[in-house]
Symmetry: C2
Subunit: 92 residues, 2 copies
């Protein structure tokens, strides 16, 4: 599992290209290239923008590492529900 | 990255053995077998118990899926700091 966690971190770091946050363009690229199979509507630019607004807790127009981890948690929850058929109470 | 997220979910599901939460014993097994290289002190039963108490937001003596995702986020943060040398402001 360690390599899975490292993959999640590395994906953010390489998408952010040395910056601390993901801008709208890099976020869209990441979602479309990395999460297109597990999430729906990633082909739609406006849906991805809505997703970004939903994640952007501090409303700065960028996705921080913490906000990105919230997305990962959201996807993990959705996947777990699909696997178990149960609804997990969301902490975020 | 999708397979990395699935790995994280699958690890919880197999460790929980069909239950909704991880008990102390299964949590300890998971941490020691899966996170022994990336975290320190996983060999110490008391350190793992302390970690579990720290994660157990609702104090029910078990680790829920949400609480487990908080651990994954914690490890991801620690790894990101190691890779970038910066401190991320923690949301959890």
């Amino acid at each position: 599992m360690e390599s899975a966690i490292k993959t999640v971190v590395q994906q953010f770091l390489s998408s952010a290209r040395g910056k601390e946050n993901l801008g709208a363009k890099n976020f869209q690229k990441l979602v479309q290239s990395q999460l297109g199979n597990i999430m729906s509507d990633t082909d739609s630019s406006s849906a991805v923008k809505d997703m970004m607004r939903g994640l952007d807790d501090n409303q700065d127009g960028k996705v921080s590492f913490q906000e990105y981890l919230n997305l990962v948690g959201y996807v993990a929850n959705a996947w777990s529900e699909r696997k178990t058929g149960t609804q997990n109470s969301a902490a975020n």
